[in-house]
């Protein structure tokens, strides 16, 4: 292959691209601006004022216990609890002002206390929820369980209601239908509780036990590149947007060949002894060089503007960048080869990039996909690019974590390149 000719074609493409202001803006400014926007939305910076989940609380009981449960929920930093009437609460959920409403029924305190040991006559707590917020519903269920268990158990082991209930349960045991084998141990347990309660109420307030509580305390620590380094949402968003706009550039490069094919220039190129392989190779190389340059500029901007750093292997980052650039370049050629005309190729490109970008996790990180989709998207090359860039930036992984994504991206590049060479319409104009 004639390297002089090849390099001349590559230089021509680079010159044309750098001289084209529209292409520059689309490929550089757009991903930086949109990356900044997405980064701001998803970034850890938001933790100071993470939106709380608005909850309506309807307390139809007004007992010590029901008020304590309400107070416990209100303490939680994830919830914004507002007391409402039942009618208001329903309306609030329907209109989306509240994500859910918790209704503590009349008699909640008494029934809950009675049901604590005997599991008889449990009160029914109703939750109205907005079906579009399934995830928050799960969270609320957990928090409600925790609050109710803590409040009721404390009452049972310390409070006055507890003492009355234990006594009543003890005397009711004969008629309760509990089997004779269970009766004796349960009587022992309840008598012990009664003695415990007597002791507790005699003790000074400070030394009383607090009832049941979570058998552990929780320390939350985000796992990133190292301790003391915060997750940087901009790293992911700049990677994702870079990938997306570089795909656009790659397709533009492929379509440019189809446009060229309609002019005499195409005949002129074909008349030279460079061959069809040379023409496609030159286009792939120039597009890959541009893609690499664009991604580096985008990450440089992310570094300057938002302090995004490559905390993992820099060589791995470069390797993934170059492998992704080659994949993009051949993907553009493949789209052109399958489209055969600029118009058809552009139509195909919209479909192709949407799949690549959405399923690749450039917009929304792939870990929020359902499990089957996460497995399926391993067939999408951009998924490897996005995950690989994540691994090298904020996850701070070593070079070995870059090898897999690089190999997969290069494999796709080879596949796309061969298909493009096979299908590209060289002759019939």
């Amino acid at each position: 292959m004639n390297l002089t000719a090849l390099w001349a074609l590559v230089r021509k493409d680079l010159k044309l691209f750098l001289g084209d202001r529209r292409a520059l803006i689309l490929s550089l400014a757009a991903p930086i601006v949109i990356g900044a926007f997405f980064g701001f939305l998803f970034s850890g910076d938001g933790k100071k004022d993470t939106a709380k989940i608005p909850i309506a609380l309807v307390d139809l009981d007004g007992s010590v216990l029901s008020r304590a449960v309400g107070a416990k929920l209100a303490e939680d930093k994830l919830l914004l609890v507002r007391p409402e009437s039942e009618v208001q609460a329903r309306e609030a959920v329907r209109k989306g002002r509240a994500t859910a409403a918790v209704v503590l029924p009349k008699g909640f305190g008494d029934s809950a206390a009675n049901a604590f040991f005997s599991s008889l006559g449990k009160p029914e707590v109703t939750v109205f929820y907005d079906p579009s917020h399934g995830m928050e519903m799960g969270l609320l269920r957990g928090l409600l369980t925790q609050a109710a268990m803590e409040v009721v158990s404390r009452e049972m082991f310390t409070g006055d209601t507890g003492r009355t209930v234990v006594k009543r349960t003890l005397s009711g045991l004969d008629t309760s239908g509990v089997s004779s084998a269970e009766k004796a141990p349960l009587q022992d347990l309840l008598r012990s509780v009664d003695r415990w309660n007597a002791q507790q109420s005699a003790a000074p307030e400070k030394q009383r036990s607090g009832g049941l509580s979570l058998p552990y305390t929780l320390k939350e620590e985000p796992i990133t590149a190292g301790s003391g380094i915060a997750y940087n949402g901009y790293a992911h968003s700049f990677g994702g947007m870079g990938v997306q706009f570089i795909l656009f550039m790659g397709i533009d490069a492929g379509v440019a060949l189809l446009v060229l094919r309609r002019s005499g220039t195409w005949q002129r190129l074909r008349a030279a002894p460079l061959g069809r392989r040379g023409i496609l190779l030159a286009r792939a190389l120039s597009a890959a060089i541009l893609a690499t340059g664009i991604l580096l500029v985008i990450f440089a901007a992310a570094r300057l503007l938002f302090g995004v750093r490559i905390l993992g292997s820099f060589a791995g980052f470069l390797g993934i960048t170059v492998a992704f650039a080659l994949m993009t370049a051949t993907f553009g050629l493949l789209i052109a080869a399958l489209g055969r005309t600029p118009e058809a190729a552009r139509g195909l490109a919209i479909f192709g990039t949407l799949i690549m970008v959405m399923l690749g996790g450039a917009w929304i990180p792939s870990f929020v996909f359902p499990a089957w989709l996460q497995r399926a998207t391993l067939l999408v090359p951009t998924r490897w690019a996005v995950d690989g860039l994540d691994a090298m930036t904020w996850r701070g992984l070593g070079f070995s974590a870059a090898v897999g994504p690089m190999a997969v991206l290069l494999g796709f590049a080879a596949l796309f390149g061969i298909l493009a060479l096979w299908r590209f319409p060289f002759e019939d104009a």
Partner: protein, 311 residues
């Protein structure tokens, strides 16, 4: 130097070239002439190796092109019918690119670029982007781009389409200079006067077939008329007198357009004497007179019964 043996090419059911054969000797300038859609560009594309013939052979110096990276392709310089230029690059960048495509680099490339620029009179505009050029300048640059690698056979596919007389002249002078340097030219056109001015030999194609292959003189010799007498009349009288004139012996055709009478003659001497004598006896005054050789337009008409423009 170049031989075509019965080459054929179809696009679907459309037979663009139906078995064309001709040859060009080294140093010769051949005109490939034919109306729109005759198959000229298709033929030229097969010579340059851009499309493969369905059957038949193209041989350059006795050898067929072996694939699209055959170094033999560098013997050919192609000037495509459609402009082959990058509008957003300067003239010099365009030329360097086309030179580099044939492996030129460094001083050799710079030298060839400078020469091609001066050859086509574009040195002053070397740094300007092609999109700022006039149509004629683009055509000249299009020609220059084919010359950098100093090919022996230069194929020109209608290189003067849409060109003003000044640029056309510049192009023609360039081609004559190439001819003088011993280059072989294959010149495609449907302008008769161009082929007549430049070419040693002419191949006329129509509907994908060769209908004539001869020297300019040879073609005219085959015709029923050799010369045309053109007379500007002062006051052409009305009536069907022109047909009477056409009936005279030695006169082949008569056509009156505005005040210009064109009389086709088999033999110049006797024919013109008869025509002038007849007009004088009728008292039809002649303002101006000259004779021309029969042109290729007439040749085409005689060979096909159709004029070139409406073929």
């Amino acid at each position: 130097m170049l031989e075509l043996h019965n080459i054929r090419k179809s696009y679907g059911t459309q037979q663009a070239v139906k078995g064309i054969s001709f040859a060009i000797r080294a140093g010769e300038t051949l005109g490939l002439l034919g109306p729109n859609g005759a198959g000229k560009t298709t033929t030229v594309s097969m010579i340059a190796g851009l499309i493969a013939p369905d059957s038949g052979e193209v041989k350059l110096d006795g050898r067929s092109l072996g694939g699209d990276t055959d170094p033999l392709k560098a013997r050919i310089g192609l000037v495509p019918q459609d402009l082959a230029l990058f509008e957003d690059l300067s003239a010099r960048d365009n030329l360097s690119l086309f030179g580099a495509l044939y492996g030129l680099q460094g001083a050799a490339l710079n030298g060839a670029t400078a020469e091609a620029l001066s050859f086509t009179g574009l040195t002053d505009r070397a740094k300007d982007k092609v999109k700022t050029f006039s149509g004629g300048m683009k055509r000249r640059l299009n020609l220059a781009a084919a010359l950098l690698h100093d090919p022996d056979l230069i194929i020109l596919d209608e290189p003067t389409v849409g060109v003003d007389p000044q640029s056309r002249n510049a192009i023609f002078e360039g081609l004559e200079a190439l001819k003088a340097r011993g280059k072989t030219l294959l010149y495609t056109t449907h302008y008769m006067e161009e082929a007549e001015r430049l070419c040693d030999r002419i191949v006329i194609v129509d509907h994908g077939e060769v209908i004539a292959d001869d020297t300019v003189a040879g073609l005219t010799r085959r015709l029923p008329l050799r010369n045309v007498l053109r007379l500007e009349l002062e006051n052409p009288p009305p009536g069907a007198w022109a047909e009477e004139l056409a009936a005279l012996p030695g006169i082949v055709s008569v056509r009156l357009e505005a005040a210009v009478l064109s009389v086709g003659l088999a033999e110049l001497g006797p024919g013109s004497a008869a025509a002038l004598g007849w007009l004088t006896t009728r008292g039809i005054a002649i303002a101006h007179a000259h004779t021309e050789r029969a042109d290729l337009e007439t040749v085409f008409l005689a060979l096909t019964g159709r004029t070139l423009r409406d073929a």
